[in-house]
């Protein structure tokens, strides 16, 4: 069935009980994590992942996307009210959101943020839905060499992600690739790096590794930091003028549209992500305005632009994830991990075999944003108080949830040991600025790269990588990406 023909049936499926309940549960957890600075989408999704194991894939995806989609807007609540962005994607919202709150226009800023977030997510989802059928046709031409080159292209994105810590980015990626070599190899029939442990025959499982790297490592960091999560002043004003904020998005619709386009395009580029999109959208709007001096002092356009961009980028980020199986961000890597534990192999075949699931995912993204924008707006003042909870109280709860959640996956204590080992590794990586996302991308793509490499060699020989046009094209794209990124990095290094 055509992808477009499935839109209405999947919409009905999405609202089939208990789908909406899981969306609300996921979005509520996402809102909570979005509001807490230091925690965000990756932690929310990672902690929810083991709990979704027993659910059918449709409900699991709804819960996880619900959580992921909810973090962006909720992070703007604290950015506006107490000048502390809940997540990195809301950092630019502080520039004008907080001055607006100080002028007694917090409601207006929140109204504008909620509306531009919800509309931005819808914009991104529309673009994603339009692009998917094109990608579906493209992946039909894929075989082993293309899968291998795709994995290599995905790995080369690490260079873009790690531009500030290039060498450490490469090291983290190599570690991830080595971890992906652990266990039984179906192609060569050998067992590698098991250290005599039967548990390691299955390799390093993605979910315990992710929980350790992100949930445990962040919780330890929070606990060591002490104090309250947000060490800023408490918001004492009233929230009025919300509708004025909603209207302002339509008044400045061109600002919204341009920012949403920027967000979607940046989302498509794997590895760049939301923390960049909100700054670029903000900078673009400032640069293209005639009255630049108003920005930074409480201009509503300075709230609309970053919020539209950071919610539109989710739809864009799902394009490489769903079409090619390349996770460009931690959340997308976790999402692919969730699909794997439900028996769905991430990669190009996913779009051909499970189109209904992909459309449900898009619906979940849209409705999670609508839910968060509405509820977040109504409860914004109460939600901002969550940031005053001492970190010493939040951290042990995350520890317990992470450990029990991991155990719940397979009822294996060895999984919990992996969580602790990767927790320590993740904490050290965070402290010494080794990008953990590079390790995760390599861990996710490593298996596909190794398997398709051996399959290509066996079926076509080494020439198999260059005699097929798509494979050759992907190889050239990888080389171009690497050369440009390395040259830029070297130039910047010389300039320092």
């Amino acid at each position: 069935m055509n992808l477009m023909e499935l839109i209405i049936p999947t919409f009905i499926d999405f609202f089939e009980w208990p789908g909406p309940l899981y969306l609300v549960l996921g979005a509520s957890v996402g809102m909570l994590f979005g509001i807490l600075p230091g925690l965000g989408g990756p932690q929310a999704v990672v902690l929810l992942l083991p709990l979704t194991f027993g659910l059918e894939p449709r409900l699991a995806i709804t819960t996880l996307i619900g959580a992921s989609g909810a973090t962006a807007f909720s992070g703007s609540v604290t950015a506006i009210l107490i000048n502390t962005p809940g997540t990195a994607v809301n950092a630019a919202t502080c520039f004008d959101g907080f001055p607006l709150a100080r002028q007694g226009k917090a409601g207006m800023a929140l109204g504008a943020s909620a509306t531009s977030s919800a509309l931005g997510a819808i914009f991104g989802a529309i673009i994603l839905t339009l692009v998917l059928p094109i990608g579906r046709k493209l992946v039909l031409a894929f075989s082993y060499p293309e899968y291998f080159m795709l994995a290599i292209l995905g790995l080369s994105i690490i260079v873009v992600i790690s531009r500030e810590t290039l060498l450490k980015g490469f090291i983290a990626a190599i570690l991830g690739l080595l971890f992906s070599s652990f266990g039984y190899c179906g192609i060569t029939g050998s067992v590698r790096f098991t250290f005599g442990l039967i548990y390691l025959w299955d390799g390093i499982k993605l979910v315990p590794a992710l929980i350790g790297l992100f949930a445990i490592a962040e919780a330890v960091d929070l606990f060591i930091g002490r104090g309250t999560i947000a060490r800023t002043e408490r918001f004492e004003g009233a929230i009025t003028g919300v509708f004025e904020g909603v209207k302002s998005v339509f008044k400045h619709f061109r600002v919204f549209l341009r920012s949403a386009i920027i967000g979607t395009i940046i989302g498509i580029i794997p590895g760049v992500g939301g923390s960049v999109s909100n700054f670029i959208a903000y900078a673009h709007i400032v640069q293209s305005s005639k009255d630049k001096e108003k920005f930074g002092h409480g201009d509503i356009r300075g709230v609309i632009a970053p919020e539209a961009a950071n919610d539109a980028k989710d739809g864009g980020a799902l394009i490489p994830t769903l079409i090619f199986g390349i996770p460009g961000s931690i959340v997308m890597a976790v999402l692919l991990g969730a699909l794997m534990i439900h028996g769905i192999e991430p990669g190009p075949r996913m779009m051909l075999d499970y189109p209904e699931l992909i459309l449900i995912l898009i619906w979940a993204l849209v409705f999670s944003n609508l839910f968060t924008s509405t509820v977040g707006l109504l409860l914004s003042l109460q939600l901002s108080k969550i940031t005053l909870i001492p970190t010493t109280i939040v951290a042990p709860v995350i520890f317990v949830l992470s450990i029990l959640g991991t155990y719940a996956l397979n009822k294996m204590f060895a999984d919990v040991v992996v969580v602790l080992i990767f927790g320590l590794l993740g904490f050290a990586m965070k402290r010494f600025d080794y990008p953990r996302i590079s390790l995760v991308i390599a861990l996710v793509l490593g298996g596909l790269a190794q398997k398709s490499f051996h399959q290509t060699i066996m079926a076509l020989g080494i020439k198999g990588f260059i005699i097929r046009p798509i494979s050759l094209g992907l190889l050239i794209a990888t080389i171009v990406l690497l050369v440009f990124s390395l040259a830029k990095s070297k130039r910047e290094g010389e300039a320092v």
């Binding site: 230091g38 930091g225 010494f432």
Partner: protein, 160 residues
């Protein structure tokens, strides 16, 4: 030459990679091909990283590989995250090891006893001893977490 926390971590990674490279030679040529290439590359890069960390003067030609900070980098983000103090606060590694010991003990008792007993006990002792919270707050959170975990993992998910 100076050996700090970051160089100790790089050295640990170097040794771990060296062990993996050594183990590669016990596999058949096809099975070891990719891990061996990756391992050797890893050894090379980790050696360069270690050189950059312990001997900045001797690594001038490799300056373009050194960490840089701008608004999108780890350092840049830290200004928006008062709680994410990784780039500014010196770490007490003894405390980190203590936290992981607490977690290891928690996992051990989970293994030998019943989770719903261990969870409140862990929260209570962890908060009052490691977190230095007053006992009333610790007890309240321990009870609350115990009930929440019972509802989630026992009643809803049927795990315990």
């Amino acid at each position: 030459m100076r050996f700090k926390g970051d160089s100790v971590f790089s050295l640990c990674l170097l040794l771990f990679t060296a062990v993996l490279v050594f183990l590669c030679f016990s596999y058949n040529p096809t099975a070891r091909l990719i891990p061996l290439v990756l391992g050797l590359l890893g050894l090379l890069l980790l050696s360069v990283q270690l050189l950059l960390e312990i001997s900045p003067a001797g690594s001038k030609n490799l300056m373009f590989l050194k960490d840089k900070g701008d608004i999108f980098s780890v350092q840049g983000k830290a200004q928006f995250y008062p709680s994410q103090t990784s780039t500014f606060v010196k770490i007490n590694w003894l405390q980190v090891l203590r936290i992981f010991t607490w977690l290891a003990v928690f996992v051990f008792f989970l293994y030998i006893t019943y989770p719903l007993v261990v969870i409140p006990l862990f929260i209570f002792f962890f908060l009052s001893v490691e977190g230095r919270e007053n006992w009333r707050r610790s007890l309240g959170l321990a009870a609350g977490t115990g009930v929440f975990m019972y509802l989630l993992f026992s009643l809803l998910l049927g795990i315990f």
